[in-house]
Symmetry: D2
Subunit: 331 residues, 4 copies
Amino acid sequence: MLERKFAAILGIYGKPSDRFMSGGYKSDAPNVFTRIEMASKHGLVRGVELIQGEDADIHPGNKNAVRAALADHGLEVCAINPNLWGEPRWFKGTLGSTDPKIFRQAIDSIKLSIDLAAELHCEYVGLWPGQDGYDYLFEVDYLRLYDQWVQGMQELADYNPAIKLGLEYKPYEPRTHSVISTAPKTLLMLHDIDRPNVGLTLDVGHALYARENLGETVALSQRQSKLFHLHLNDNFADWDWDLNFGVVHLFDFIEMIYWLKRTGYSGWYSIDIFAYRMDAADAIDESLSWLKSMLEFVEDAGTEQFDQFLVSGDPLLVSEFFRKHLFPLRR
Amino acid sequence: MLERKFAAILGIYGKPSDRFMSGGYKSDAPNVFTRIEMASKHGLVRGVELIQGEDADIHPGNKNAVRAALADHGLEVCAINPNLWGEPRWFKGTLGSTDPKIFRQAIDSIKLSIDLAAELHCEYVGLWPGQDGYDYLFEVDYLRLYDQWVQGMQELADYNPAIKLGLEYKPYEPRTHSVISTAPKTLLMLHDIDRPNVGLTLDVGHALYARENLGETVALSQRQSKLFHLHLNDNFADWDWDLNFGVVHLFDFIEMIYWLKRTGYSGWYSIDIFAYRMDAADAIDESLSWLKSMLEFVEDAGTEQFDQFLVSGDPLLVSEFFRKHLFPLRR
Amino acid sequence: MLERKFAAILGIYGKPSDRFMSGGYKSDAPNVFTRIEMASKHGLVRGVELIQGEDADIHPGNKNAVRAALADHGLEVCAINPNLWGEPRWFKGTLGSTDPKIFRQAIDSIKLSIDLAAELHCEYVGLWPGQDGYDYLFEVDYLRLYDQWVQGMQELADYNPAIKLGLEYKPYEPRTHSVISTAPKTLLMLHDIDRPNVGLTLDVGHALYARENLGETVALSQRQSKLFHLHLNDNFADWDWDLNFGVVHLFDFIEMIYWLKRTGYSGWYSIDIFAYRMDAADAIDESLSWLKSMLEFVEDAGTEQFDQFLVSGDPLLVSEFFRKHLFPLRR
Amino acid sequence: MLERKFAAILGIYGKPSDRFMSGGYKSDAPNVFTRIEMASKHGLVRGVELIQGEDADIHPGNKNAVRAALADHGLEVCAINPNLWGEPRWFKGTLGSTDPKIFRQAIDSIKLSIDLAAELHCEYVGLWPGQDGYDYLFEVDYLRLYDQWVQGMQELADYNPAIKLGLEYKPYEPRTHSVISTAPKTLLMLHDIDRPNVGLTLDVGHALYARENLGETVALSQRQSKLFHLHLNDNFADWDWDLNFGVVHLFDFIEMIYWLKRTGYSGWYSIDIFAYRMDAADAIDESLSWLKSMLEFVEDAGTEQFDQFLVSGDPLLVSEFFRKHLFPLRR
């Protein structure tokens, strides 16, 4: 039952836009209930991530209706994520803002997500602070910014220690430099935050274009038992394209799965793509099918097989192994 | 009078959005007439680029009013650019579309820009086909795509040979791969298009993150007398951030200006930035002030000075020259 | 008999060094005859590339002995390449040198390669001018450099029209900027050189870290019938690592093979790797085995299958196809 | 007396080679005593870094002669660095080797550097483990590699707590992935090493092509009082070109100097370049002259000026400041 923890971000089923096609790439913008129905139609999706915000998936005003709809459609909630990127008040940051009022509003918004998570029996709140960082040199005081994040996260962690908080790092976009930018920087900050319920969320696309090795990132994060959540997509290692999972990288993902298995990762595998020019539900399903195939491949091969590669240190053995499994002898 | 050809894209004064802040980073979205007024208030802006489209700056329905407003405010039109990126019908390309109806609509839209340019005494139409390209491998037939662009441009060039058409290349975004992606690829295509009134538009930010040397790009383009237009902004060579001109690169821009001067570039210098988190008019003015300083610097030094560097081939002479001019000896 | 055109650069069997391990990564530096014997022991290698130079594989003083050794071991010569990178006199370039004596010496050295090629019944001479370019801004006159290359190549092409000359582009290294840097720039220069026996050599690693799409590069080159030769290796798209072929990219290589087949490429497939920390012969054999598997895969699928993907423009069909072929259903 | 801590790596005065010009770019390879003499001739160099190794600058057999030569020429030793990259035994790593004998030899070699540093009254030993990392996926066990480095460094730190050990991180080269790759990863490892005399060495070129912001790197390192040493050079943010300091970046370096000053950095400023195609002594002198100019610029402006920029968070103020200082009004 490898797929019991397969999920998708509910917003993927919506109407994506970008800075050039500001009106959106699709004609319809299905509401949250339609999107829940869409998610339930593909058997591989078992859980969904909800964005919390007034104009987003969930808020106090619709929480009961959303909960009911999810139950009706047999979907779990695997994450409640406050919208820390798309509200105009956050345009220069949230916990990193130089304005104490904005800092406090951000704290409050995240606490609301924590409360909603507790109510919906979801143990995880994901934080992606896209607007926290800087665009220009000499724009921010790096130490102030870092310290505000440490202190803010401590307050949030202590607010409800039963809820896990995951920091989703990303090197850049929308800011030219994010404050929480790479896995090692996040792990360093986690040392300073020093709370058991604060960890790291790995978006594989973010890691790939930060030129991280996914397997090593999992290994380092799990060395501190800090890998809380996983976002899956793909790109050409030059930008956060949020392409379908599996269309570019292959060996990197398999190595990552080996490390997930070896370090006992038990969280969700959640698809995080932008289906600008195709059917979103089909794209999610195809992405999860790739994931399933890769998980099965590692399962079938056995982790001992990969352990042996690491002991041998011989890249030719690895190359031969993949070649013979992916391209069995002709005739 | 170095600044007599200073311009800005009129849309910069508007309300920018991106895929995360889809509602836009500013509260107001000033209309075209307000933006013309804004542009006229800063003395450095002498010309503006207008986007042509139903919901854009200019279209047959408002052309007379726009022309009058520009005259009232003493602004020239330096470019009319059809909106080839932000209308939903173009979501998979324009001249590169596999749908013949879309190809024809794109031809018609560009011809409309050509007509408007002729009416407004503007000699240049800029084409940035952002949606033409592909996101995934095996998504398009590269030869069909290339050939459609060649044929389409020939038809457009012949439609009104008095109007110059500039192809603005960009490596990627919004597609993961643009069809018109780099300066050499554009110049190669210009060979195949083979029309005197089709040329290249250099957006310095696009060139920088395509890892081109700006001076060399100007030299190669002008070797074929094909540099038709210039878009100015800056970035960290990793993405099209459209930052204010001059905030990151310095020596690259000065070298470019030397080559512009040496090859007799006589076109416009047009600011193309996204002022997400600051006042747009101030950002344009600051950008043009940098441009003015750099132009003066090259003017004062004299091209002979730089010619000599190229003859000597000695990087230490160049380094010393810049050091002593930028940081005159302390007391 | 897909493998009848499989080759390797003979120097791979030697002793590689780099700027930090200047004494070399291996204890032995086998001479050319030993390396010929090594190449012959692996059945997949049918041809070899020879470097021409006084201290290299072949020169007038040993040509008969080398020819005899190749014949004894049943190996063809698929390329004679003048050493344009490793002789101290070339430290600031060859055909691009500002010193007319160096320019002439480079012409003479390349003509010697052409003569040797003719004598050894090899129809191809490969030119990789690693030292031609620049390191610093304002170091060279881009137009002079470009024009010298055009004129030099014309003289060389006319010297013996029966021998094909291939320009191997590379974005950078050892210079921070190469003069012949990308496929489009090379194709542009080929327009100016304007000789049928001058073409382009595609080193897939160079293209990958220039962020080119391999399939598109083949398509564009073959549109002008200019793809003369192929060098195979792999890297992480950030540098010319010269890793074993097939260890990182997969779909890119398959798409490239489709385009090679569709455009009728009939040249050699030559391995060009640096086996710093492993057995060179094994690394070449493993690389050629990957190549063979991929060629068979495209052969089995049939080009019509891929043609249909391009007509459909549907990335989900492509994704499903690869998934089901690489990971057949379990049990 | 800003220049009292100006230094250079002594090897720069030698004969550089690379993987293509394996015999070296210069005709002479001056020995250590000649190089000491060369370093002393340029007034700006006050200290030198020595490589320790049998065929390197210093070893037990020549230590007294080297010490005498340095004294004669009035040069201080600011670093003793064991050669952890250029001896064949290290070809797959040092403290990260899977071979316990190699691990022990590496420990011994570093201890020898520590002893020599103590004898020569140098308080710092720099470690750049270029061969520690991996080239291929599935080649190493990331946790074993990391843990061996932690344990090895603890043993070394305890060997002589009076000597500071600096880990010089670098994203890649010669391995495709270094074990100690970025500033945050190094700082994370320093948490685990947990010794006051182990810190970080910042090579600005390594940081730039790891896409780090230099100012932020200094800030984060000094937040833990861990910036031990500084290597200066420049590049185009795409590779470790080791160009002369100041030829590409300007604002980044000035921001870095602000942060060095603000956080009280009191170590050396050591030039680390490869002068492949120019006179090494001149290149070092020009690099130090740029450094001096930038230090003076920050000194003259005053840190309060820059503090205010960070409080304002207004990039336009910063842009205007630099513009007006670098390009004072004409006439």
